[in-house]
Symmetry: C2
Amino acid sequence: MRVTTETKAATRQRILEAAQSLFNRQGFDAATTRDIARAAQIAAGTLFNYFPTKESIAMCLVAEAHAQAVEHFQAGPAQDASEPLSLEEELFAHVAAGLRKLKPYRKYLTAVLDTSLSPLHSDQADGEPSLRVAHLEAVSQIVARHKRDAGPSTVALHLYWTLYTGVLVFWSKDASPRQEETLALLDQSLAMFVGWLSAPTNSTEPPERRG
Amino acid sequence: MRVTTETKAATRQRILEAAQSLFNRQGFDAATTRDIARAAQIAAGTLFNYFPTKESIAMCLVAEAHAQAVEHFQAGPAQDASEPLSLEEELFAHVAAGLRKLKPYRKYLTAVLDTSLSPLHSDQADGEPSLRVAHLEAVSQIVARHKRDAGPSTVALHLYWTLYTGVLVFWSKDASPRQEETLALLDQSLAMFVGWLSAPTNSTEPPERRG
DNA sequence: CGTAGAATATGAGCGTGCTCATTATACAAT
DNA sequence: ATTGTATAATGAGCACGCTCATATTCTACG
C-alpha cells in the first residue's frame, strides 16, 4: 500500500500547487474548483476527497507559509543578540517576518481572513494546529519572556488577534510601494497593545485563580 | 405614476420584513433568496430589482437599526449633564447604545461583518451613507469634543474600527447571560484606544499639512 | 493467476445566488 | 377607446461549491 500512499501525497501537492498558481493569476473567487481540479489532473469531485472546502485549500497554503515563517524566526537573530530588543520591537520583528513569508498570498488573503481567521472560528481539531493558535502561542512566549510572569490573559490575546487581523486586512489591499503603510499601521497597533499591556491591571493572566 | 412608486416602496418594505423574519428564524445562510421572495410575494428574480445582493438586504437592515441608534443617542442624555462624562465613558455609552439597537440582528451580524463592514470595502456611493462612515463620524465628533482639536487621524479611526468590529464579532457569538463579556471586552478595547490616543504623538490629525 | 474486498476516482446532479431575455403593466397622448 | 412607451415583474437558466451513488483501481489471500 506504499505506492498509493505516495500517490495520494503527490496528488495533494499537485492540488496545492495548482491552486496557488490559479489563485495568484486570477484571484480566489475567479479560480473555480473545476479549474483547480483540471490543473491538478483530477476529476472535479476528487478535489473534495483531499480538501473539505475550497477555502481550506487557501488556508492550507497560508498555514504552510506561516509555519515556515515561525521556524525561520525562531532560528533567526534577536534571540541573544548584543543589545536585546524591547517587547514592542520583538513583536514587530515577529509579525514583519510573517508578512514576508505570506507575501505571495497577499492578494487572496482576505478570502481566508473572512472566516478561517476569525477569532470565533473553531480551530479544527484535525490536521495541523491552526494558524491562529500557532501565532498566538508565539506571541505569548515573547510576551512572557519580557514580562517575567505567566502569559498574557485571554482578553489580551483576543485584543492582539483583533489588531493583527486588522493589519492583515489592511495589508491585503495596501498599494503603497513597499507596503510601508502597513508597517506604519503595525507599528501603531503594537504600540497600542504594548502600552495597554503595561497598564497595571492588564499585564498578565494570574498564575492561579485567587482565593 | 404615484401608484407605482408607492407600490415599489411597499414591496421593498415587504422584502425587508420577510428577510428579517427569515434571517432570525433560520439564520442568514439557511434563508434562501427564493424563500425571501416567496414570503414577500414576488418572483425570485424580482428581489434583485430591489437589492443587488442577498447580503445587501442584511446590510440594509443593520444600517437602519444603526441609524436609529445614532438618532436616539444624540437626542439622549450625556449631552450636558450635571457631571460630564470622560471620553472613554462617552464612547462606551455610544457603542453600548448601538449594541442595544443591533440586538435583534446579533445572530446574523457576522454575515455582514465579513464583507460589508470590512475597513476596505468601498463605501458605496449610492443610497444612504454606509454604517461604517456614519459610526466613525459620530466617534470623530465625540473625540474632537474632548480633545479640543481637529478630529482623530485616519490611522486612529482605522484602529478604532478594527477594535470595534472585533467587539462586534465577539458579541455575535457571546453566550454569557446578558452579553456582559462583550461589555468587558468593549471596556478594555476602549481603554486601549483612549490610552493610545492620549500618547503625545497620536492625539489628533494635524489641521493642515506642515511645511 | 483469480478473485474478493477495501480504497480511491469519477462526473452527473443538487441547491445556491444571481442574470437577462421576455412578458406584463401603468400611464400619457391622441 | 386605442396606441405607444417606459418601467417593472417574471422565471428559465447560468456557474458556482459541493455531494454521492457508481465505477475503477489496487492489494492481499487462496
